[in-house]
């Protein structure tokens, strides 16, 4: 369910960090990564363990929940990618949470869609 990927990205991103604020930034990114796995990792011990771990680390390092997050992959030595051009297709590295149907659990029934219309006089 990808929780291990979040864990390893977090530990990789914090291996060479200095100031506390950078740690908090990485921690928030870790939190965001874990949150994206919430549907698929429901019931996974590693997922719940990570959630508790993040809470503890937030408290220990006095990190606020709001603030910048940095995707671990952009913390590598390569420069960050350029912003998407207008009307670009969805980026291949976009989080699954940014695609409603892809973010649903694999075995889940397809969502029910509903419609509303407003027109005329």
């Amino acid at each position: 369910c990808r929780i291990l990927k979040c864990n390893s990205e977090f530990w990789a991103s914090t291996s060479s960090l200095g100031p506390e604020e950078e740690f908090c930034t990485a921690l928030r990114a870790y939190h965001a990564c874990v949150r994206r796995t919430a549907r698929t990792c429901r019931g996974d011990l590693a997922y719940h363990s990570a959630q508790h771990g993040i809470e503890d680390l937030m408290g220990q390092h006095n990190c606020s929940r709001e603030g910048p997050t940095t995707q671990p992959r952009t913390r590598s030595r390569t420069p960050p990618p350029p912003p998407p051009p207008p009307d670009s297709q969805e980026r291949s590295d976009a989080p699954e949470v940014c695609h409603y149907e892809r973010g649903l659990p694999r075995n889940a029934a397809p969502p029910n869609y509903t419609h509303c219309g407003f027109f005329g006089d």
Binding site: D87, C98, H99, Y113, T114, C116, G117, F118, F119, G120
Partner: protein, 262 residues
């Protein structure tokens, strides 16, 4: 305006001024409706504002605003997508016909919206997952959100009575000051000529057809027949159940509620 709710109820309403169509954790849609004729309580939509709320790692908060004769192909900040986050392209504005037809895709919430200008007024249609449609904000009783609950009873127009009067040869819309609700049309359609006009594009005599007839009789503005036609085209594109494209009047009730068969 005519409203088809998330629950496939169909209402014809007054709702003059600003009204919310949708308001939940993810987005807010509000319309402003103005009288189609001075002194009339038949109104149509002249402004539309959609706010897509900041969403996790995907999109910044974005506002889309349209007004009569100003149907932009971009958000209010000039951008056409959800910003520079990794999922920014999960929200985008697509121009279908300049100044007339815009589609907004919000893939992160599985939502597609269509905004059109037909004649002098705007139309709105949306497809979204039920889970998203009902994702109320904490502590919000969302009683007035038209797409969810329909128009309040006090705002509904009795479609059936209106039509019976029109078909019976009485003036469908009284002159201002006559005490009638709906005001006076600039061009006079008879019931028969309105029916003939609406049949040009709407082949099934469903509530879209009836609303077309109603609009021609109350406004005299032929572009409202197009509004009903495009509203039905949007249903065909956005509604997930082909069997429910057409709605028909129930035996009783205000504004024409749906039934499962003609």
């Amino acid at each position: 305006p005519h409203l088809r709710t998330f629950g496939d109820d169909f209402h014809t309403c007054i709702v003059e001024g600003a009204w919310p169509l949708i308001h939940n954790k993810y987005l807010s849609v509000q319309v402003t409706n103005t009288p189609v004729l001075p002194g009339s309580s038949a109104t149509a939509t002249s402004k539309l504002t959609i706010i897509f709320k900041n969403f996790q790692e995907c999109v910044d908060q974005k506002t889309y605003h349209a007004e009569t004769n100003e149907l932009p192909a971009a958000f209010a900040d000039g951008s056409r997508n959800g910003g520079e986050r990794h999922g920014g392209a999960a929200l985008r504005v697509l121009e279908k016909v300049p100044g007339q037809h815009v589609e907004i895709q919000a893939r992160y919430i599985g939502t597609t919206m269509v905004v059109r200008q037909v004649g002098r007024y705007l139309t709105f249609a949306v497809r979204m997952p039920e889970e998203v449609a009902r994702a109320a904000e904490d502590g919000d009783n969302h009683d007035l959100y038209l797409c969810l609950h329909g128009c309040p009873l006090s705002q509904r127009i009795d479609f059936r009575t209106f039509r019976q009067r029109a078909a019976g040869g009485r003036a469908p819309a009284g002159r201002p000051g006559s005490g009638d609700q709906l005001g006076s049309p600039p061009h006079t359609f008879t019931y028969q000529s309105a029916v003939a006009k609406c049949k040009e594009r709407l082949l099934v005599e469903d509530l879209y057809f009836q609303s077309c007839v109603f609009d021609l009789l109350t406004s005299g503005d032929v572009s409202f027949s197009l509004a009903a036609y495009y509203a039905f085209e949007d249903v065909k594109m956005l509604h997930s159940n082909k069997d429910k494209y057409h709605l028909f009047e129930k035996a009783v009730g205000l504004g024409g509620a749906p039934s499962r068969s003609p």
